[in-house]
Symmetry: C2
Amino acid sequence: MVKRTSFEHDDCPVARALDAIGDWWSMLIIREALFGISRFSEFQKRLGLAKNILTVRLRALVDQGILKTAPASDGSAYQEYLLTPKGRGVFPILVALRQWSEEFDERPQEIATILVDKEKGKPVRKLELHSQDGRLLSAADTALKPRATGKQSRRVMA
Amino acid sequence: MVKRTSFEHDDCPVARALDAIGDWWSMLIIREALFGISRFSEFQKRLGLAKNILTVRLRALVDQGILKTAPASDGSAYQEYLLTPKGRGVFPILVALRQWSEEFDERPQEIATILVDKEKGKPVRKLELHSQDGRLLSAADTALKPRATGKQSRRVMA
DNA sequence: CAACACAGTTTAATAATGCAACCATCGGAG
DNA sequence: CTCCGATGGTTGCATTATTAAACTGTGTTG
């Protein structure tokens, strides 16, 4: 890619999120981190990406407050990369991606894992979007409203 | 980049989803499409991307069954790009991205739009993940289980 | 103290963007 | 019928991201 158009100052929250974690590797790094991976070499082995890229990605994630470095709790020397609350907040996005694959992939049998709830070991339900008074909402039931305060915009999302 | 590692045959559903819609533009194109945009020039104007890139992205999205081309319902000649069910299924992912920005962005006041429910015009609640018996689940309440049938794997997600 | 693992950095090659200019088709005005 | 602008692209070239692989500098093990 080139000059990778930054969406950092876009007023659309989707664009902002993509700017932060919208590349292939960042999301997968966070996925691994949520699974408990914290060491450089572990990320590298599991994801199979080039080490320089991993370096850059980890640094970017740390800069954005998604990961933080800690002085290696286990063993000694070296540091480890831990998720911040902001990083753990990515979980629903990963679930959404997972469920989309599960629902629409043309070869779902190749999908190796199922997300289950720990207590019962049964698959989770689909993510649900509710209104404030509790109605289940689909895309068609929603709309975008400009924020009350601040400059208005024609930028949208759905 | 180089040889852009494809995750198409990865057994992790997150990776598969990212392989399909994990680049900056595809997600935004789908966002616009969900908002009703269907014409090439409309996408181009609203997103401000280069036309060649738009061409490639649209074709890829059509190939993947996320968009389909129709012979221009309105006016005449030219075609339009419409979402398939698979494309509309991306909605929760966009909502998850949006809510992540809303919750963790350091300058939330720059975010221009709010997702509301059409009926009441009030902001929606956060996406919720439930177990089959209805308990609200957080990341910590979940685990990954290998699929019953098929080759097992150490590939994970959280 | 030699070998090895960890956590990177550097380098060179290559593939993916982006920009701009070009081309083809359609519909409408004259 | 012809010219013109808008639509929907395609082509080329410059720029940048990503990669693999080699190299560096620590710490740790034997």
